[in-house]
């Protein structure tokens, strides 16, 4: 990069092409019209499905039926349509599993792909074995429906003719339904005939499509819904805008196809790095329901605007508001889960029952991460590290991007730039800090590279259509990709992370998986050709969206193995799929340094949260380009509340470590980072909540206020847990910022303690120092008000409790603590307290089960400060029980380092043990 004089000319040329920049980016990727299955499916008319259910029975605890075409349109030259097999199973807690596949017993050219290792093995134990079904003719139907009991008064209904599946509640109201508009279509595999030309060409690439058309599409309706959310990853609004219907501007469907999109746009339904084919709905009825299609092929989803079906003649119950959606996939089977809710948090729990609970992260990984492409050498690393200390800014993790390797051979080090990797990591570790290195799936095709040699010899690479090792192009040049669909290859890959195999790694080193969509620079749409072959003859088209997930899984498993099962892994991945929450964190990929991208990071993170992936965030500052100082500062202020808080930058950008923007901005950025560190106990408690219940760390307002309509499409503000509301500032030189504070209870400014009324939109003065953030009345937030070099040194530091009282002078909150790194918490080695304030008394209650299992976690940490916001009278003292000690109450700043601003009531030095039972009475 040092001597790059091409720039002048390229600049001129780029200038000429500026106007076409947008178009070529889009053109590089297929739109629906260029994707035959999508074009075909979108052209279908409602009611065109002619399937009816026959031979409905209970078998092996499932409801099974055959789907037969009643009046098959005989298409010239096509084989007859064989019956499909439908299986409907019921699980505890209101989960229904619906499968539709070809009948293997009738002989098919190939077994269609079912995505393995996403549904957790424990799920099968939750199955409710159906014993019987009832039959009923509903309403004006001409044919009967088969009905099985689901949960809590809900029933699953299979209507025979026309075929339709839905869930209804005890009152007979529909919740979710499939094929209510008769758009269901299932292209069956057939033998190729002479005259068939199945090849598809896109740009310079040809997809041989040896198995021909095999797509599936159907409509899904959500009842009692005003909005639908989910199906990441798109850089677009949180509440999904309709893509088809009257008065709707032409739009592509939401595309789910894991892609490495260069400089993605901020408002687009185009598919990005990861895919979770899971959608949830919510409406003023307060009802939430969910639909998850376990399918890893390319998927396109339309959200249909009201009135889209006006001419179809199909009438659905109109008493309920409803959102219709249309799902299309290139391959696979119907393998779908319906979640009945009814509350938002119920749906979250139901979804993670199927796909697994979010991993409990290491404490350090919930703190601040410093990344750049690239910290060049050991000296650079040392300088950055020590400059954080010079400025007394905490950080926990320093990241090394691809340039640290020997020629982009992962697991190696550049011997000139990083001659002493172990010593470098030890120096960081001595300050309680960690390092993350990048390990991507493309392996350099270099005979002298042992990893490549071994993978090649063992036949561990993904194959091309002809059966040779697929040879693509990525950072190292010519590269091949391990076939992590195969458990044996995953295990082999995992072993590469042992300290012995990964030379230069130490226990404080963790991993970053990038480019695992997979990104292939010379492949169609910058990814792997769809006719590549995986383990078991599976075509890449069938599993594309789940490839990165298996790679992430194998890497995380590798870190668990490395630590002999004692150390929680930390692996950040760019690609993801349903279930990724079990393996680690994700980020929103290569964003850009502009205000729109700051803005869109909130809906993107919210979407990941409601689709089960709580540990996510966007690159603070924006990856591409140089953020203006104000944007960078605002990004830190917002990013401090992302579940995953990392600053990152492209190598063409100017340095942007926190201290490079003048003293005042350094202070503001430092303050944002310190707010995160102060709130780490709260964040860690929220990660535990997510780990137990699936409720995300960063939540939409409606998850806490399900019946407040004003919150449904609000994606400028978000909740952190149930206690904090944060509103970003997304414009330059903003003078004012409007914040909607939901609910009837008041809110307290996080910075000053100022009270604001709930249920109103407040127009606030925008300040440089912070973005608006509030604590909800009725909550207690644990904090640590001492700052250290990293979270590691904070373990024994005392806590503060901030009690925000509601109108009945009550509040409660939780605190979860464990060793921050091991799996001992699974054996009960943790502290979990609930703090309850009522009747002028604060009580600490144990939430951990009495018989805590084999392991225990101790802490001598104390609570040094208790702040009461909204206390209605005055008090001088408080009495601690059972020790009977008297402590003082005084007025002090809400944040001790800030002397300005109003003083708040503070119990001084109660010094009660955080693990103990006690009560503090205010006298």
């Amino acid at each position: 990069m040092r001597n790059f004089n091409l720039h002048l000319l390229l600049l001129v040329i780029l200038g000429l092409h500026l106007s076409s920049v947008f178009s070529w980016k889009q053109d590089e990727f297929r739109n629906c019209n260029q994707t035959p299955f999508c074009k075909r499916a979108r052209a279908r008319k409602p009611g065109s499905c002619s399937l009816v259910a026959r031979d409905v029975s209970i078998s092996d605890g499932d409801l099974v039926a055959k789907l037969i075409s009643e009046n098959p349109e005989v298409v010239e030259g096509q084989s007859e349509i064989k019956p499909l097999i439908l299986t409907l199973s019921v699980y505890q807690d209101g989960i229904m599993w619906l499968k539709v596949d070809e009948d293997q017993s009738l002989g098919t050219p190939k077994k269609r792909f079912e995505v393995p290792d996403v549904v957790v093995s424990e799920f099968s134990s939750k199955k409710l074995w159906l014993q019987r079904l009832s039959t009923e003719t509903i309403g004006a139907d001409s044919s009967p429906s088969s009905i099985v009991y689901l949960s809590d008064g809900h029933e699953a209904v299979l209507r025979h003719d026309p075929f339709e599946v839905y869930v209804r509640d005890g009152a007979g109201n529909r919740v979710v339904s499939l094929n209510s508009h008769g758009l269901f279509d299932f292209e069956q595999l057939r033998e190729k005939k002479e005259e068939d030309d199945w090849e598809e060409r896109f740009r310079s690439h040809t997809d041989t499509r040896p198995y021909g058309p095999q797509s599936i599409s159907f409509d899904v309706s959500f009842y009692g819904a005003d909005f639908v959310y989910g199906i990441p990853e798109h850089a677009t609004s949180f509440a999904l805008k309709p893509t088809r219907g009257p008065n709707i501007e032409h739009s592509e469907p939401y595309r789910l196809f894991n892609l490495d999109v260069f400089e993605y746009l901020h408002d687009s339904p185009f598919g990005l790095y990861g895919s979770i084919p899971y959608m949830i709905s919510h409406g003023k009825s307060g009802r939430t329901s969910g639909f998850f299609w376990l399918n890893a092929a390319e998927m396109q989803i339309d959200v249909l605007g009201t009135g889209w079906d006006a001419e179809s003649g199909i009438s659905l119950p109109s008493s309920q508001s409803r959102i219709d959606t249309f799902w299309m996939s290139e391959a696979g089977i119907v393998d779908a889960f319906l979640f009945i809710g009814p509350e938002p948090k119920d749906v979250m729990r139901q979804y993670i029952t199927v796909t697994g609970t979010p991993a409990m992260p290491q404490l350090f990984s919930t703190a601040y991460h410093q990344c750049r492409w690239n910290y060049r050498d050991e000296e650079d690393v040392e300088n950055v590290d020590s400059t954080f200390d010079e400025h007394d800014i905490p950080y926990d993790v320093l990241w090394l991007d691809i340039e640290h390797t020997d020629g982009k051979r992962y697991f190696t080090w550049d011997s000139v730039l990083f001659p002493h990797p172990e010593e470098m990591q030890r120096k960081l570790a001595a300050k309680g800090r960690h390092m993350v290195t990048i390990v991507d799936p493309h392996i350099k095709r270099d005979e002298s590279f042992h990893l490549h040699k071994e993978a090649m010899e063992k036949g561990y690479y993904v194959k091309d259509a002809k059966g040779n090792d697929y040879d693509g192009w990525c950072w190292p040049g010519s590269s091949s990709y391990p076939d992590t669909l195969n458990p044996e290859i995953r295990s082999w890959w995992a072993d590469k992370f042992s300290f012995q195999n990964y030379v230069g790694s130490t226990p404080s080193l963790y991993i970053w998986n990038d480019m695992n969509e997979p990104s292939v620079f010379n492949g169609p749409e910058v990814t792997m050709p769809r006719d590549c072959l995986h383990y078991g003859g599976v075509e890449h088209r069938e599993l594309h969206n789940v490839y990165g997930y298996y790679f992430h899984m194998a890497t995380a498993d590798g870190l668990v193995k490395r630590g002999e099962g004692k150390d929680r892994p930390f692996v950040l991945s760019r690609a993801f799929f349903a279930g990724t929450q079990r393996y680690g964190a994700v980020w929103t990929g290569d964003n850009s340094a502009d205000w729109d991208q700051l803005r869109v990071s909130v809906p993107m993170t919210l979407t990941l949260g409601v689709t089960g992936l709580p540990f996510s965030g966007a690159d603070v500052g924006g990856f591409f380009g140089n953020p203006e100082t104000e944007l960078l500062v605002r990004w830190y202020q917002l990013g401090a509340f992302y579940p995953f808080f990392r600053a990152h930058a492209h190598h063409d950008t100017r340095r942007r470590e926190p201290w490079l923007f003048g003293e005042q901005n350094t202070e503001i950025i430092k303050d944002s980072i310190r707010v995160r560190y102060a709130l780490l106990p709260y964040f860690y408690t929220l990660f535990r909540e997510a780990n137990l219940t699936g409720t995300p760390v960063l939540r939409p307002l409606w998850m806490e206020f399900p019946s407040d309509e004003a919150t449904f499409s609000n994606d400028e503000a978000f909740m952190v847990g149930n206690s904090l509301l944060v509103q970003g500032i997304y414009t330059e030189r903003a003078k004012h910022v409007s914040v909607y504070l939901p609910g009837k209870q008041p809110w307290y400014d996080l910075r000053t303690g100022t009270v604001y009324k709930g249920g109103l939109t407040h127009k606030l003065k925008a300040t440089e120092e912070s973005i608006p953030a509030f604590q909800r009345a009725g909550t207690i937030v644990p904090r640590k008000d001492r700052f250290r070099r990293s979270s590691t040194q904070m373990i024994n530091d005392p806590y503060s409790l901030v009690i925000a009282l509601n109108s009945s002078q009550a509040a409660e909150g939780e605190l979860y603590i464990d060793d921050g790194s091991s799996f001992d918490f699974l054996q009960g080695a943790y502290i979990h307290r609930r703090f309850v304030f009522a009747d002028r008394k604060l009580t600490s209650v144990n939430l951990a089960p009495a018989s805590q299992g084999s392991a225990q976690y101790h802490s001598n940490a104390v609570i040094e400060r208790i702040i009461l916001l909204g206390y209605s009278s005055h008090a001088k003292n408080a009495l601690i029980e059972p020790s009977n000690e008297k402590v003082e109450i005084e007025n002090a700043p809400l944040w001790i380092q800030r002397s300005q601003g109003p003083l708040v009531m503070t119990i001084r030095r109660p010094n009660v043990g955080v693990a103990d039972n006690w009560t503090i009475k205010i006298s």
């Binding site: 091409l6 192009w473 620079f521 001790i896």
Partner: protein
């Protein structure tokens, strides 16, 4: 002593037993700097230094933060804004952020920051101090010598500046005299020419036909010399390009055929085409058509992505993220471009030089500012080669040898000679004679040419002197000697060249990249800033900051590029060996020597 220690330990253990969780220090004044002891001991109620509050003695170091500024907790970690003082006897005392207190990491060499028993920190101040003291002693020696050198330079600079000033005023006087002479000569010359012109017109009629033939020949010539014209255009444009003017580069790349630059334009067109070329998809025939048209426009562009190998496509796509040249031998391509760039830097220098020799007039002063600098640059190089001995000193280095011969040498006779010659002419020549005496006319012309050439040289010298004297040479003119110097440093394959007051560059083989033009001093003459260097692809204009540190020789070290295209380097020079700093260092050393370490059990 020992007994006392045991006793105190007992009491302390008792304290621990009572308040298990607190980490109050044993010494109530722990972390207080000696000069502050009085402040804390003065009264029972102590104000916070920021005036926000006050606290009692019992609240001092009670491990709870009362003052926002940390006044009440100098010895604990309770206040985020607090500072902890470690005495570090035998080494340098220092303040730590309170975040370091009892964090399990030994920060003070006397171990005083860790007292809660989690870690045991040894006192290694004397050992660590010895290393530091030795280093400090060496630094002091350097400063002592450096200060002498600096004094010398300051003195020499004073003299040289005085010389420059004197010369300037002398030259200015001479200039006005010479101007008068030239003016007179010019008038005479014009008179002669007027006469000659009359003569010529008369003759012209006679030779009309002959002249017409000549004119024809002249008209044909330009056609034949079309290429030459174009080349000279190039030269002009390239000299514009030298100022990093994007537009002119654009022009240049448009006007040169088959240059390596043009080749790259095509390469990039290829990139753009590949990227444009979704149109390979069968369902958009319209856009396919446009590709076709573009293919016709370009010379040998591939019709579509098919024209690219898989590898080329991979490189092209990768280049978006890296900004690297996607062509196969990227290194080679770079070199070619650089060479072209270098040519463009060389040509104008020559051109300017010619212009300078042949055409300088008062009115053109402004437009030739840059030319002057370029000329000076050339001189610099000469100077640098000739005067390897950096301690040698010559103030008049930036003038051409012939000028120094007759203008600046202490030899006023040249002016007298001209005056005399002019006087002779005025006396001897009859300007109204027709026809003109040929030898007289030639003499007048020659004298005029000679003296006006002298005048322009003189003026150029004046302007370069003025240019020089405009610069900021530091409060004591200690940087004066840097004006004519360049400092080089070789690092790996690059040679870095820093010429204060002029420019800085990076050379690799035959290619030169300008890292910046002289901008200013920063940070009270501790940093030299060069800015507006060659523009970076996808990045800022290159820039270089040179941090100055005291040293006995002038030496550039540690050139680095911490952020893309933003360079930093160190220059050691006696110019920044300041006496105040030496005093500071000596004071520091005195302190270190005075503070012998005390035994560990001093409690």
């Amino acid at each position: 002593m020992k007994l006392g220690f045991v006793l105190i330990s007992f009491i302390f253990c008792g304290l621990i037993a009572k308040s298990v969780y607190s980490s109050k220090p044993r010494d109530p004044y722990l972390g207080v700097a000696p000069e502050d002891h009085k402040y804390y001991k003065s009264s029972a109620v102590i104000p916070c230094k920021d005036g926000s509050k006050e606290f009692t003695k019992a609240q001092l170091n009670d491990d709870f933060c009362d003052c926002s500024d940390g006044t009440d907790e100098p010895g604990t970690s309770a206040c985020p804004s607090g500072k902890f003082f470690c005495r570090n006897a035998g080494h340098v005392s220092r303040f730590l952020y309170s975040s370091r207190v009892n964090d399990g990491i030994c920060d003070c060499c006397d171990g005083s920051d860790e007292y809660d028993g989690k870690v045991k920190c040894p006192n290694n101040c004397w050992e660590a101090g010895k290393v530091a003291r030795d280093k400090l002693k060496r630094k002091i020696v350097t400063y002592e010598e450096g200060i002498l050198l600096r004094k010398q330079e300051v003195e020499e600079a004073r003299l040289a500046l005085a010389r420059d000033e004197a010369e300037l005023s002398k030259l200015s006087k001479e200039e006005s005299m010479l101007k008068g002479i030239v003016q007179q000569l010019k008038e005479h010359k014009e008179q002669i020419e007027k006469v000659e012109e009359k003569e010529r017109l008369r003759k012209e009629k006679e030779e009309k036909q002959k002249k017409e033939a000549e004119r024809k020949a002249n008209e044909e010539n330009p056609k034949l010399d079309g290429e030459d014209t174009q080349q000279s255009n190039e030269a002009v444009e390239q000299s514009e390009g030298k100022d990093s003017d994007v537009a002119s580069n654009h022009d240049r790349s448009g006007s040169i055929n088959d240059s390596p630059i043009q080749k790259d334009v095509e390469e990039d067109q290829k990139l753009a085409d590949v990227l444009d070329n979704v149109n390979g998809a069968p369902n958009s025939p319209g856009s396919e058509g446009s590709t076709h048209i573009r293919a016709e426009e370009g010379n040998d562009l591939p019709e579509s992505t098919e024209g690219l190998s898989k590898e080329e496509l991979g490189r092209l796509v990768a280049s978006r993220w890296t900004g690297e040249n996607p062509t196969k031998q990227s290194g080679e391509a770079d070199a070619t471009i650089n060479k072209a760039d270098e040519d463009s830097e060389d040509i104008p220098q020559e051109t300017n030089h010619e212009e300078y020799e042949s055409y300088v007039s008062e009115t053109d002063d402004d437009s030739h500012k840059y030319d002057d600098i370029d000329v000076e640059d050339e001189m610099d190089e000469d100077f640098h080669e000739e005067h390897e001995d950096l301690s040698s000193y010559k103030s008049d280095s930036d003038i051409t040898p012939d000028l120094s011969d007759d203008i600046t040498a202490n030899n006023p006779s040249w002016l007298e000679k001209i005056q005399k010659a002019a006087r002779n002419i005025f006396q001897a020549v009859n300007f109204f004679q027709t026809p003109v005496n040929q030898s007289d006319a030639a003499r007048v012309r020659r004298e005029y040419d000679e003296s006006s050439t002298k005048l322009s040289k003189l003026q150029s010298r004046i302007s370069s002197l003025k240019q020089k004297l405009k610069h900021d040479f530091g409060p004591e003119k200690e940087f004066y000697s840097c004006y004519d110097r360049c400092f080089e440093s070789k690092q790996n394959k690059y040679t870095y060249k820093v010429c204060p007051y002029k420019e800085a560059s990076q050379e690799e083989g035959y290619s030169t990249t300008r890292l910046g033009r002289w901008d200013k001093f920063e940070d009270s003459y501790r940093v030299m800033v060069f800015s507006n260097g060659d523009k970076c692809w996808n990045g800022p204009d290159r820039s270089l900051k040179v941090r100055l540190r005291c040293g006995l020789t002038n030496e550039i070290t540690d050139v680095d590029e911490p952020s893309r295209c933003e360079y930093v380097a160190f220059l050691s020079t006696p110019a920044v060996c300041r006496e105040e700093k030496l005093k500071e260092l000596q004071h520091k050393l005195d302190l270190m020597n005075k503070e012998q370490p005390q035994s560990h059990d001093e409690l």
